[in-house]
Symmetry: C2
């Protein structure tokens, strides 16, 4: 047995035991823990800033790039946001124990489904230290135990935060081991967690594409995972072009680097001549590079030719692919072929075509007359977000507390036996 | 590329295309297909009997044992049951397209979740030919495409049934490839299906432990899988002993070979002295072998000593392990340690302890004052059952049509953009 195997077994056994207590913990106790942690995070802001400064200093001497340093930075404002995030999660309704669909069967038994925690959640993340607190909060509220594996760059800050979390749990009478930070930054631990199905019920990777792809190859533990966001807006024949322009603008330019940003714009040929030149002015004023298909190029001059590769690309940058289509069906076919099944929208005035798009587009979020940027846990009202799922099983789209739970059947009988 | 790879690619591409049509198929058309198939199955009863006779003859010459021959046999009654099963599935409500929890958010968008098919369902089963029709019916109704891999012993019968299913689909105007039978009985196909995540969204293995264990090692496609049923009944202090005896009798002896049969009986020490001797008489009259812990042995003489191994065994036979416990908590701890998390029941008169048991026992079905034998899709009112899931993710416990679906977010907007 390697040292890593021993470590995961040790962490896993403690997590399993803590998970049993957490599953039965009252809402009041869980909320008390979240509030205690919030108070401790606020009180420790100077220590946290010092730990973060030390992490940043080491990161700078290791010559991390500006973006990485930015992700690693924990400002005073970010510390306050973590504390408020904990208080927000405390205010959310407790999903655990709720029984739904309780029906009486002909045999006399009453059958329903009770929402229960998954057990142990493994979270693998990279530089952002706030994930330590945000993820722990959701796991505590949903009655799970968490094993957190943060990035090596943020090790001092993560240790300080994990210490506060564990003290807050203890203060509320809950087991400290409900949240454990992996005490090593050895990369082998990522692989070990991905295979520890005896101890971890679900894995939530929060990081770049290379991390997710590695886990997709290695993991036997199921994952809530998020890959690409190749999102589309389709402007239908007869659409309100003022609305279409506002949505196309917002979906592309409100933020370039988010997963729900539009990457390809599809326009019905009957409105392309009027809409495209207007949009070109708007996008060019914001420095967005346009790449069009042959038809789009005949309408707006000086547009780069879009290639097959463009339809498959998540730019995460001020670049937009544009295609003119001759029907709703062609738009749906394009989307179901090239979309990453994340988020796709239609702008239309037509009732039947709106419903057809909603049902035919095979994506986690499908919108009518709204910007793709709305596809997120807060905008949807989940109150919090542990991640976004590109999968169809268990959780799809933005994942809140419910994604960290399962439902078991409960039966209320009066002595019934089966005949 | 091997012949098996080519075959799975070919089946997979056809299934993907058929799945797209099935996802948008109306309830009326899907029901028409189910009814057309039912009529064809009834009309073809003589051909089906002949195909089955040929399968049986070959199985006999291959010296299959009596149990295997029994599973393979398709009686006239079984053919009629298949037809009725199809008609029953046609009568079930269509889960697809239902939108739940449609709420208006502060931004003005209205957000809900629409139930959609999973896509392509792979079903791997052994000798029972009726699975061909039962599984196809559930996949059709839930708007999925199915790839069926039946056992080699039933090849003629399965081919005949698949032919009827495909003709029925065509008659209703649906794609024949919505149901495909794998045209080879090469065992390598099982492994290929288990890894075909590009083409198969979920795998439902229906077979013995060796099949499931093989798939657990090999599969990268997610599974709805069922392993052991080590089920418990706990008789609490103060329980109604007439009720307790009836439930303990029914849970063990109504059928010995089913997964929801009780394998271990836990009895609170305060009622053991009165209940155990009564039960011993009852069980012994039915030929059930009793294996007790030390305490139980002091109450009923001539009881075999139960070992650690007994607590972990799914007998599927007239054998029962018995343990006397000194508290509800000890019973819960025993269950959460040894149960296969399938189905566990308490018999009690106490309100608080009933609720405590319901919430603390970590099993797919938890019952109060009812026999474990009720844990099944039909008794729970699912109308049909594609399988039983021992997992916590996606589907838990008996799985009906809903387990073959997913939910996507749908957004109804009025031109909203994000600020």
């Amino acid at each position: 047995m390697t040292a890593i195997d021993e470590l995961i077994e040790n962490l896993g056994q403690k997590a399993r035991e803590a998970a049993r207590t957490m599953a039965g913990a009252s809402t009041g106790r869980k909320n008390a823990a979240l509030e205690a942690i919030a108070a401790r995070v606020r009180a420790a802001r100077h220590e946290l800033a010092a730990a973060n400064a030390a992490d940043l200093e080491q990161a700078r001497s290791a010559q991390l790039d500006a973006a990485a340093l930015d992700r690693l930075t924990l400002s005073t404002e970010a510390i306050e946001l973590m504390a408020r995030g904990l208080e927000e999660v405390a205010k959310l309704p407790d999903p655990i124990g709720a029984i739904s669909e309780l029906v009486i069967r002909p045999s006399g038994i009453q059958v329903g489904r009770m929402r229960v925690p998954l057990g142990v959640v493994g979270i693998i993340y990279e530089s952002r230290p706030n994930v330590t607190v945000d993820a722990a909060a959701l796991c505590i509220k949903s009655g799970n135990a968490a094993i957190l594996r943060g990035g090596s760059e943020a090790v001092r800050c993560n240790q300080a935060l994990a210490g506060l979390i564990r003290k807050g749990l203890e203060e509320a009478g809950l087991p400290q081991d409900a949240v454990q930070l992996v005490p090593t930054t050895d990369r082998a631990m990522v692989g070990a967690m991905a295979k520890a199905s005896a101890y971890i019920d679900i894995l939530v990777p929060r990081g770049g594409r290379s991390l997710i792809e590695r886990l997709m190859r290695e993991a036997s533990v199921p994952m809530i995972k998020h890959l690409d966001g190749i999102c589309h807006v389709y402007v239908d024949a007869g659409a309100d072009l003022v609305m279409a322009a506002a949505i196309a603008d917002n979906a592309k330019t409100q933020r370039y680097g988010t997963c729900n940003t539009m990457e390809t714009l599809l326009i019905h040929e009957s409105v392309a001549k009027e809409l495209l030149p207007r949009l070109a002015v708007l996008y060019r004023a914001k420095g967005v590079e346009l790449r069009g298909d042959a038809h789009a190029q005949t309408i707006v001059a000086d547009m780069v030719a879009a290639t097959e590769e463009d339809w498959r690309t998540e730019y995460l940058a001020p670049i937009l692919a544009i295609r003119v289509v001759d029907s709703l069906e062609e738009a749906i076919l394009h989307i179901n072929t090239y979309s990453s099944h994340h988020t796709d929208a239609i702008v239309t005035r037509d009732y039947e075509r709106a419903l057809r798009f909603l049902s035919a587009v095979d994506s986690a979020s499908v919108l009518v007359n709204a910007s793709t940027r709305f596809a997120d846990g807060f905008e949807y009202g989940l109150g919090a977000e542990i991640g976004i799922s590109n999968d169809k099983l268990h959780a799809r789209g933005p994942v809140g507390l419910e994604g960290l739970t399962s439902q078991k059947y409960v039966v209320f009988g009066h002595g019934e036996t089966r005949s």
